[in-house]
Amino acid sequence: MKLKARLVGLSTLILASAALISGCSSSPSAEESLTIYSGRAEEYIAPFLQQFSAETGIKLDIRYGDSAALAAQLLEEGENSPADLFLSQDAGSLGAVSDFDLLQKLPSDLLTKVDAKYQSSKQDWIGVTGRVRVFAYSPERVSNLPKSVDDLTNSEWKGRIGIAPTNGSFQAFVTAMILNRGESATEQWLKGIQQNNPKLYEKNSQIVEAIDAGQLDLGLVNHYYVWEVSEELGRSIKAKIDFFAPGDIGNMVNVSGAGILKSSSKTDLAQRFIEFLLSDGIQKEVVNKTHEYSLVFPDLTPSGVPAFLEIKSPAVDLTSLSDLKRTQNLLIKVGLI
């Protein structure tokens, strides 16, 4: 403990002096800028970023990448990271960076904007948008909608369901189940699914495409994939989504979020950026344009999906999603990955 405290003190000192040095060396006339590592796709976030630059005159240098890969990159860079901000698609990647103490504590005026369950318990990252686990199904071939993820272990679903067990969103859901029901109950559920010969996919979008192509009846995905795939194909597709009964673990909510790196010397600017992401205008745009749920205005609902407040998703500690080792071991044990 003592050592840790000393290390923290030392690194604060180093950071402070680094900030001082960089503050001195940068000429005052230089344009203000922020370096952002974004796990959020360019297509979805770039318009907001441009709007931010236009409004504030702050230049944004953005590095797009896969959230988990960017998190791994931030861990390797450590104190030397050129990044000021990390935007992630999921809580797990933010949590991994937070576990290594690379994120700054956020000010309370930002944290109060969003429900505490959608932010880090260390208060060093905050959720920006919500994404919910749902089931996608073929309305032609499925008439009896499942009420719970447990229904999917019934033999009526044999050979009809699809999952993406290597995908982060599925693993986050399984982690939530472990936290909620315990390891052995989760193992039972996974075995039940395994017995139904699920079709395994790499990505959520493949599941939706397979339902559209008539090869699959139902699959576990995030709520926006039906919209995303139909955008890509330029037509409406033969797949719909629905939630399980309110409170079912199958309706788990994950968030995309943002954190400020400790190594950043531009805390103020970075906070301004997060404030912008949580501002009324942007939050409303997110609901309309990317079909995600707003965490600031949970009563806003994207078109074609159920209302956020009706989901009654079970309580899940998003901070605990960074280490999926137990989940992966379970999936390996059952033979799904």
Binding site: E43, Y44, I62, Y64, A69, Q73, E228, E232, G234
Partner: protein, 521 residues
């Protein structure tokens, strides 16, 4: 001895000294470059606790992963060798119309990113999954490594023996095994090695088709638990596997067969005109090209046309420019290191052998591992980190192995007596290498450079991490769209990538004018 002559000789000697020095320096540099990611992995691997390592290694799944990885590598390599050699043989022996176009078309598939290639196939047949699907996709996309290597070898085959065989009444098949195989064996082995290492490091195909190889397992560890230590242990295992494969390859290679004591390097080969053979050849070529090139291209086109999206010409142009410049600089750096290593290998230098092996060994590492290793090292050098220079250097590091093999085998094919004659005629070592060895080895060196260039153009994981912030390449743009399943918007970038790859491939595959000149004189 006249003063003048003495001075000239000392100058020449000094020049040789400088040359040797330079060769050693370049080989040392290659060893150091390859040592960087290995040192990183060792550091990470040793920082983990023995418990978690043994849980990962000893679980039943690991054995499965090992078996799957080895089987997939073996089957794909075998398949790619068969397809590649047949393609090269047809392209070299049979009278085919539009030869240059066919040659280019059989090589260009390696420019299509594995992920895009597999996706196209899955769109066509959404049920495509599993080991044999991955085998098919990987054979189709890696056969060009063998085709290219074999073509370069066939150009240097001494056909005078071939004529003798024909006169003696050997049929084409027997002639092939008796005359051709011994002379192209080394280059085919080098191509096969590239295929094997490619399969070991490939992520796109195995991930989409759901085949559990080491690379997929490593990637899952990074994604799921950010467990860098265990991932490093698995990566080192992968390095060990590739080391075994590399030593296998060097056994297949024989040095005695490599050189022909013929002064006439290329006797003109008379192509087969038999109608039956030509028909079969056309069928084989057409099947390969349609499965590996036409089909994915058509799918991309139809996706692009069916969902009309506005084409961002400025973005496309700058991505193309960025891709070409970064990949070209990387290829030049790689070849300027691979060439001296190749020359030194000819002298039997141990350092060069070490350089050769170590460059190959790291070639089996998945892109994400190499990328993170370079992030860990590069981020400590602020002024260099995330610059075009470091990106190009990382391409060189990642793909040097693709050049070393070609250069090595190309130089080995240069007849020793020509080098001796050159020396007898008073040319010093530098002049001999420059005027005799390199021009004769040029086709091999060029195809090696092309391989590096094509591989660098489609590289993704390291590019995402190491590019200058905001620097978009064709590969990163393709990823930008495919990551949110927008294939129609990724299509123009993928098509441009193939187009850009086609130009140098086409140029290099034109009938070698210098050879023609020599033959006609």
């Amino acid at each position: 001895m006249p003063q003048e002559l003495l001075e000239r000789n000392t100058a020449a000697l000094r020049k040789i000294g400088t040359l040797q020095y330079f060769l050693y320096l370049a080989s040392l540099l290659a060893v150091l470059c390859a040592a960087l990611p290995l040192a990183y992995l060792l550091n990470r691997a040793t920082s983990s606790d023995a418990d978690s390592i043994s849980t990962v290694l000893l679980r039943a799944k690991s054995i499965n992963v090992l078996v799957t990885t080895l089987t997939l590598t073996a089957v794909v390599t075998l398949g790619a060798v068969l397809v590649g050699v047949v393609l090269a043989w047809i392209l070299n022996h049979v009278s085919i119309r539009n030869m240059t176009a066919w040659r280019a078309a059989t090589v260009i598939p390696i420019a299509i990113p594995s992920y895009v290639f597999t996706y196209c196939w899955m769109t066509l047949n959404p049920g495509l999954r599993g080991f044999w699907a991955a085998t098919l996709v990987l054979i189709l996309s890696t056969a060009p490594f063998v085709t290219l290597a074999t073509l370069a070898a066939l150009r240097r085959v001494d056909w005078s023996q071939y004529e003798v065989a024909q006169t003696l009444g050997l049929n084409p098949l027997k002639t092939f095994f008796k005359i051709t195989v011994p002379q192209i064996r080394n280059q085919v082995a080098a191509g096969a090695l590239l295929v094997a290492l490619y399969v070991l490091s490939d992520f796109g195909a195995v991930a989409l088709l759901g085949v559990d190889t080491f690379t997929r397992a490593i990637s899952n560890l990074y994604r799921g638990s950010f467990d860098r230590s265990t991932a490093a242990v698995l990566s080192l295992l992968l390095v060990a596997i590739s080391a075994v494969i590399i030593s296998l390859e060097s056994r297949v290679r024989s040095d005695s067969e490599a050189r022909r004591a013929s002064t006439k390097i290329v006797a003109e080969i008379k192509p087969f005109h038999s109608a039956k053979l030509r028909l079969v050849s056309y069928l084989f070529l057409a099947t390969y090209v349609s499965l590996s090139l036409a089909l994915p291209l058509m799918l991309l086109m139809s996706r692009f046309i069916s969902n009309q999206v506005e084409l961002d010409f400025a973005g496309l142009t700058s991505a193309t420019f960025n891709t070409v410049s970064a990949a070209a600089i990387g290829a030049v750096i790689a070849v300027s290191i691979a060439l001296p290593v190749g020359v030194l290998l000819q002298q039997g230098s141990r350092l060069a052998k070490l350089a050769d092996a170590s460059v190959l060994v790291v070639h089996s590492l998945p892109g994400i591992v190499m990328g993170l290793a370079l992030v860990a090292l590069g981020s400590q050098v602020g002024w260099l980190y995330q610059t075009l220079g470091l990106l190009a250097f990382s391409y060189a590091l990642l793909f040097m192995a693709k050049g070393v093999g070609s250069v090595r085998t190309a130089l080995a094919k240069v007849p020793t007596n020509l080098l001796e004659i050159s020396t007898t005629l008073g040319q010093n070592k530098v002049q001999t290498i420059r005027r005799v060895a390199i021009p004769l080895a040029a086709p091999g060196i060029l195809s090696g450079t092309l391989l590096i260039f094509l591989a660098a153009m489609k590289e993704l994981p390291a590019t995402l991490m190491l590019r200058p912030t905001g620097f978009e390449t064709l590969a990163t743009e393709i990823w930008n769209y495919t990551s949110i399943s927008r294939f129609s918007e990724a299509a123009p970038y993928a098509l441009t990538l193939v187009l850009v790859a086609a130009i140098p491939t086409f140029l290099i595959n034109r009938p070698d004018r210098s050879e023609n000149a020599r033959e006609s004189s």
